[in-house]
Symmetry: C2
Subunit: 325 residues, 2 copies
């Protein structure tokens, strides 16, 4: 074995033994963009795929400042007290913005990060444009193989991350501030419609009245929005200061995961098909890049030619040469 | 000819005759997602490719509210007065957000839209996630074939659109508010580094002093950021109210396009290579989607099976069956 080779077998063994250090190493491997790492990562993921335990895959999203970290810390601690193993994975599409990542900081969940039954993984700190879903999915698979049965995927509810998160989890909670409706808070109605739970956070101190009326507002909004009576959205309030709502939230999850087996299976099957397509596209993109580079090298050596032929024509030409079945 | 067939020859003739109605029709054709339209669109683009005139491809970006529309209207009018034909194309990645598109509205440039030498095209109003670059590139090619020699590509400088715009234009202007630096304005440093011009807008009324000191701030920032002395970023202020800076801005463009032939040619060659790769990926992806659907139908008919095989494995299997040379 080459000195630089990663010992996938040892990594795999470490993961299924529940070794968090090995799990971290494995996640670093799957985030690697090195071509040599890709094959190894795929092998490891496939091994772990067969070792997955039944786990809750729960998404939590909300605008910055709504208190996602405090809330996740609270429910994480409470779930551990109930005997679960909790993994927190962050998707942070804004991490390339120089203002600094608002996620990706372990110290945000100081108490939870000290628990031996918790694993907190910040978002990969690079400009991964595509592939956020795939990397997060792979991280889930590895965490589940490591015995974590409560996976929390956290993301900021802005931009396009809300559809990404919905495609990864069984259950989605959208956290909102006590206040007057989603319009003001910049939350997209579409996001609310994807939610299983709308959680009014910071329902403490001078916010109590506002939170109570927000519950009614959101209940009305959702009632008028959703045509169907099935699968009704739960609207609730909670506080990470007083711990109000923490145990109820876990109870709601417990009921959902006990009673919605068929829904969850169908959600996951659809998600896995989507992921399969994403992987296939990634494979194809890799291949297309290689082909294009080879073609350019062979045919377009001189970059200083006055005008390149039409890019569409060139692409069509290479495509024809692939002579696909 | 089928009644529903589009007469590509007539469209092409209309475009090179400078007919704006035919140009609009052609742009609608290239934005179409109908499979039957794709081949026609490609044929038209290739024809137009051979008719392109030398044109300025200029990108203008900035945060919402910085006054992009007013500024573009002013420089558009001034350029027409100088004898140019001006096309304004918008890239609006936020157009799917229910809060409403901030671009995509012709009436924003009321004066310019009445000019016979101006063509304003709002962003395609659908959730095109991939393909924004290709569609905008094709729109540029068509506009250039129609005789427009000053193409302005406008986008909001948030999210990931700034790298997209940089890959399409010869010259990029980032508009900022008079104020204290980019941190506060949420502009990414990376975006400033891509800029040829940093333009402090709204330098009028009670903003004059702030704008003047912002010029110095940005000059210092850029000086400390950029290692190289080549290709220095211009920092300037302008007002669409007083018209300060409008003529200077056009002069700066004129000098750039007169003196940077070699740089522009090399930028475009690289851009066209990237586009070729994007097209090739799209061709293969179309093909793979078909193959995937067939595979799913043949092998995964029963969506209710307890657990799907690993998505990576399935993707790898289908990829192998494509037998790409």
């Amino acid at each position: 074995m080459n000195k630089k080779d990663i010992d996938i077998e040892a990594l795999y063994q470490g993961i299924i033994d529940g070794n968090r250090f090995e799990l971290s190493k494995a996640l670093t491997l799957i985030e690697s963009t090195k071509p040599s790492a890709k094959g190894q990562a795929r092998r490891l993921i496939n091994q772990c795929w067969n070792q997955q335990k039944a786990a809750w895959r729960v998404g939590i999203t909300g605008t910055p400042g709504v208190g996602k970290s405090s809330f996740i810390e609270k429910i994480g601690m409470a779930a551990i007290a109930r005997g679960q193993k909790v993994a927190v994975l962050s998707i942070d599409p804004s991490s390339t913005i120089s203002k600094g990542s608002i996620l990706g900081d372990k110290t945000r969940m100081e108490q939870l990060s000290k628990e031996s039954n918790a694993f907190i993984r910040p978002s990969p700190n690079k400009g991964v444009l595509g592939g956020i879903e795939e990397r997060t999915f792979e991280a889930m698979v590895l965490c589940e193989a490591a015995g974590y049965d409560f996976i929390i995927v956290e993301t900021v509810g802005v931009g396009q991350s809300e559809s990404k998160i919905r495609d990864l989890v069984d259950h989605l909670t959208v956290m909102v501030m006590p206040g007057s409706g989603d319009g003001i808070q910049g939350i997209k109605r579409g996001l609310l419609e994807l939610a299983n739970v709308i959680l009014i956070h910071k329902a403490d101190g001078h916010n109590v009245a506002a939170a109570t009326s927000a519950v009614k507002d959101y209940q009305n909004t959702m009632q008028s929005t959703l045509q169907s009576n099935q699968n009704r959205t739960v609207v609730m309030k909670a506080s990470s200061v007083t711990s109000e709502g923490i145990e109820s939230f876990l109870d709601i999850l417990k009921i959902y995961f006990n009673e919605s087996n068929k829904i969850i299976r169908s959600i996951r099957n659809q998600q896995h098909r989507n992921l399969m397509e994403a992987y296939l596209q990634a494979f194809i993109a890799e291949y297309a890049t290689e082909k294009t580079e080879a073609y350019i090298k062979a045919n377009l050596g001189n970059i200083d030619q006055p005008q390149m032929p039409s890019p569409i024509n060139l692409a069509a030409k290479i495509f024809a040469e692939l002579s696909l079945k």
